[in-house]
Subunit: 216 residues, 2 copies
Amino acid sequence: MGAPKTAPRTSYHHGDLRNALMDSAVDLARLGGPAAVVLREVARRVGVSATAAYRYFSAADELLDEVKHAALARLAEWIEKAVDAVPADGDPADVALARLRASAEGYLDFAFAEPGLFQTAFCRDDLEHPEEDEPEDFSDAAAFQIFSRLLDEVVLTGGMSEQCRVGAEIAGWSTVHGFAVLSTEGPLGRHLPPEVLAFVRKRTIDVLMRGLTRAE
Amino acid sequence: MGAPKTAPRTSYHHGDLRNALMDSAVDLARLGGPAAVVLREVARRVGVSATAAYRYFSAADELLDEVKHAALARLAEWIEKAVDAVPADGDPADVALARLRASAEGYLDFAFAEPGLFQTAFCRDDLEHPEEDEPEDFSDAAAFQIFSRLLDEVVLTGGMSEQCRVGAEIAGWSTVHGFAVLSTEGPLGRHLPPEVLAFVRKRTIDVLMRGLTRAE
DNA sequence: CCCCAGAAGTTGACGCCGTTAACATCGAGG
DNA sequence: CCTCGATGTTAACGGCGTCAACTTCTGGGG
């Protein structure tokens, strides 16, 4: 198992080892989630000794942490793409709502299409970030900021009251994330046939949209 | 680290090793989540050799799986308790809604009070259940069945249309579970001060209740 | 009462993991 | 050309899950 993915390199020095290790690690995460990101295996696939990785990552956790950030970035791209695919013509209020809905669909599409990366994106990191930045920093979760922006659009176009707006990104994120987790790694995915899953998925987003837009 | 929790046993045979191992494993899960359930450490704490555990569990995964079921059971108890604490007097429709809300609060209370167990309850098991039972079996997630029952109450008391009912347990479960995950092991818990967290928690449940009860 | 078969627990070993320390190799600048 | 820092290697340690072989205990039939 774990045949080297690239031909054994010719020169003693690799030239771009850090990126090669990252690519290899992301591949493993894609296939097997965070548990599959094993330092020795990552190095093996690049054709390098395990300890070489320590020139670029202080520990295995740090490598995993970078993979995690890469996965979060891909999730954000995916969502952005889904949002941008919504046609912008018609009633602005409807467009804003459609874009919000599309963000939720994009989130779930990513989780289903790349379960390993999704799982990695939200796996607990045992890494000790000593209180980096201010506590309000969500930069690692760009999805959150996209949700926020789209919710603002909805408010501006009159689809939602200011009062409903507060905290709405977290309610929305919770619903979508919960469904993604329960489906891809939880009991839902294990017990529900695909067509039923698709149905309850739509149902879940409906409930969310109703809950968000309903007057107080 | 990991001093034996009990005095070294006197007799060669333990007498109740299986339960002792389970208790030890649950303790570890409570403190450190699924990753802390390490076979050798579990055995060490009971004062027994690691391989002794193989008399009762075919592999470490199987032990973890039993801990997982125990954690799910505790979650269900917690929810049930929260639901039963709702006073039953007054308008039955209001009572039904209050009980539904209480179940969500109980779910979250458990997740916050016992993050290690909560995380263990929903951790991915690499154990190969060869299609045990029919695919619709949610017996391991008693929380799901409680939600279902409470939603039926709401429908019967007129708080919700039959049409809204279908799939509602999954929408509700998703929202509550997502919030729990994002708070206890995700970015929410890391970045939000407790009072803000408590606020958005209420907000999230509000959105859910609105989405569930709003006419189609 | 003894004895012995099988249940219950132990020891030792293997291969895997992350990590450290000491060593080898390359290539760029004096 | 030669050195020295950057880059990569080998060897080793302890911890993990797991297997095979061994030891210790206990209950039920002669």
